[in-house]
């Protein structure tokens, strides 16, 4: 039975832009170039494309098809969808992960999003002009965050966080069409336009330092793309590529199903889903890789760029880029463009992280849209205080590992087993092809049934066995940071408890729900 009272996307292009906005985040511009530079340069693209074809694209089709199936029956989130796939009392509780993970990730991602808002302002009004070293910009960032203050957060950083929360809430209050789709329809073209502008500026930079003509920006492209084929025998490179492709496409977060649940029953998911993947990949490989690392090479040379890459993504975005962009004519315009594009990317991803809880409250508890948005924003606002106040002590890193790394891999594994094996491969295949504009090569049925689950199992096993014990035991964590790390874990447990209770309440016999089960 179709639930016509649920919203639906207005246009196919709007959906593609919204879903691509969900996937396109800070990682496209900051994480990917660092990962590529550290893992064999051009050779990194071999395991990267393997992971794209055998892991991410099949998983993405599964999530789209699951979402559309659930939406037709009035369930846009994982608890209801899992219940449809596997008629077992445990199924809906496994689906609770699909709400917990976006909330847990969203409560720290919104803080990072607020930094990009603040830095857009700083770039526009020249606040950091004159800070011309990376060490100086790192100090500037720490000062803005208030790492040395008694509260662990500065008044300005907190104000930016509040403004960002209010902005997100305002967009979400418009719903799918008038909120998310409209924001993506404006935001994505601006994001791509600013990226192209910065890419062209970087590629025409030449060698800015006349004393070092060898620091030509095209040598910087070579730093990123010249393949070190010997690295292909290193399992870590394959793992890094799979991890990058997994996170960049936002699979395993429970967000794709939610957006796809607002499709209509005969809407295509094969080409539409592939389109969103390609927009994200094009933005990452063509645009994202061309900005930060090559420009860093042009100003700091090969040794400096190695240090930049080893400093990590945040260091690249918030400490290195402001320094190098200041060296350019029109630095105010280019600096503002850089941070504004990061703000748009962060905003569209954050909206997708907040929507699952809103959809669950509406669909499964029968709440009004307004009430669901207000409660979701309040939950995120309160939860965000743990990573904000505990930033210095690693609370954000703790949440990022358990929710953003371990949790999403576990969730992806669970949903794949449910959709492909318990729902049956042939039914899953037919579900993906309902209303499809083109047929997927039959080879992918085999990929979907065996390769993707095994790929995920391998990824999960490595993270669970190799990394989790050290994180769990807090190896190397200073004693002063331990309470905040436990605070982050407690937050996850509290959120899981509340969401589990809400799922129980929504699915108890005789409960009033938005849809039939």
């Amino acid at each position: 039975m179709a639930h016509n009272s649920r919203e639906a996307w207005k246009t196919r292009l709007g959906l593609v832009l919204a879903m691509a906005g969900n996937a396109t985040g800070l990682g496209n511009y900051l994480r990917f170039p660092v990962q590529a530079a550290e893992n064999g340069g051009g050779a990194f693209m071999i395991p990267y494309f393997c992971a794209l074809i055998f892991l991410a694209i099949p998983l993405m089709w599964c999530e789209w098809a699951m979402g559309r199936l659930g939406g037709e029956r009035g369930h846009g989130t994982a608890p209801g969808i899992f219940q449809l796939l596997w008629n077992h009392p445990v199924a809906k509780y496994l689906g609770a992960l699909g709400i917990l993970l976006p909330v847990a990730v969203g409560c720290y991602y919104v803080y990072v999003q607020s930094w990009t808002l603040a830095y857009t302002y700083f770039a526009l009004f020249g606040t950091y002009v004159g800070v011309t070293s990376r060490a100086g910009m790192s100090e500037f960032l720490a000062g803005f965050q208030g790492r040395q203050s008694s509260w662990g957060v500065s008044a300005l950083a907190y104000l930016c966080f509040v403004l960002t929360m209010a902005f997100n809430t305002w967009i979400l209050s418009g719903g799918i069409r008038r909120g998310i789709e409209r924001a993506a329809s404006w935001g994505m073209p601006v994001l791509i336009g600013l990226s192209v502008l910065l890419t062209l500026r970087v590629l025409t930079l030449g060698a800015p330092d006349p004393w070092h003509p060898e620091h030509h920006v095209w040598n910087g492209m070579g730093f990123l793309w010249n393949p070190d084929l010997s690295r292909l025998t290193d399992a870590k490179v394959w793992l890094a590529a799979a991890g990058q492709i997994f996170f960049t496409l936002s699979v395993g977060f429970g967000t794709i199903q939610v957006y796809a649940s607002y499709l209509r029953s005969r809407d295509d998911v094969v080409v539409t889903g592939l389109s969103t993947t390609m927009v994200n990949e094009w933005g990452e490989v063509v645009l994202g890789s061309t900005i930060a690392i090559p420009i860093a090479y042009a100003f700091f040379g090969p040794q400096g760029t190695v240090e930049v890459a080893q400093g990590g993504a945040f260091n690249l975005g918030f400490a290195t880029m402001p320094v190098v962009l200041q060296q350019l004519p029109w630095h105010v315009a280019f600096g503002t463009a850089w941070f504004f594009l990061l703000f748009i990317a962060g905003t569209l991803s954050q909206l997708a992280l907040m929507q699952p809880l809103i959809t669950f409250l509406q669909d499964d508890l029968g709440w009004s849209h307004r009430r669901a948005v207000l409660v979701t924003s309040t939950v995120l606002f309160l939860a965000a205080h743990v990573p904000i106040l505990g930033l210095q002590s690693g609370a954000l890193d703790e949440l990022d590992f358990w929710a953003g790394t371990f949790g999403v891999t576990l969730f992806a594994l669970v949903e794949t087993i449910l959709f492909v094996w318990l729902f049956r491969p042939q039914r899953a295949w037919e579900e993906i092809h309902r209303g499809a504009q083109v047929r997927i090569p039959r080879l992918f049925l085999w990929v979907l049934t065996y390769v993707t689950p095994l790929y995920l199992l391998g990824l999960f096993a490595v993270w669970a066995i190799q990394y989790s014990p050290a994180v769990l035991a807090m190896e190397g964590v200073p004693p002063g940071d331990v309470p905040w790390r436990w605070g982050a874990r407690l937050l996850l447990l509290v959120l899981l408890g509340f969401i589990g209770f809400a799922v129980h309440k929504a699915f108890r016999p005789g409960a009033k729900q938005g849809g039939d089960t």
Binding site: A2, H3, N4, S5, R6, E7, A8, W9, K10, T11, R12, L13, L15, V16, G41, G42, A43, M45, F49, G74, G174, G175, I176, R177, G179, W218, N219, M221, G222, W225, N226, P227, R264, D267, D268, V271, T272, L274, S275, M278, V279, E281, W282, V285, V286, Q362, D363, G366, W367, S368, H369, R370, R371, A372, Q437, V438, K512, Q513, G514, G515
Partner: protein, 54 residues
Amino acid sequence: MTPLGWLFLTTSWAVLTVVTVWCFVKIWQAPFKPEEGQPQAALDSPPRASGATE
């Protein structure tokens, strides 16, 4: 940049660009249509829960 670097760069960019353009041509050829019996006006209505209690 070495010739092999150029090969990896141009191949990656070309493959992604061709597939992305192909996808957008397909989308342009077949935009979403409302389902039978579901007027466009209904889809444009303000968001609400299907079983809203308020």
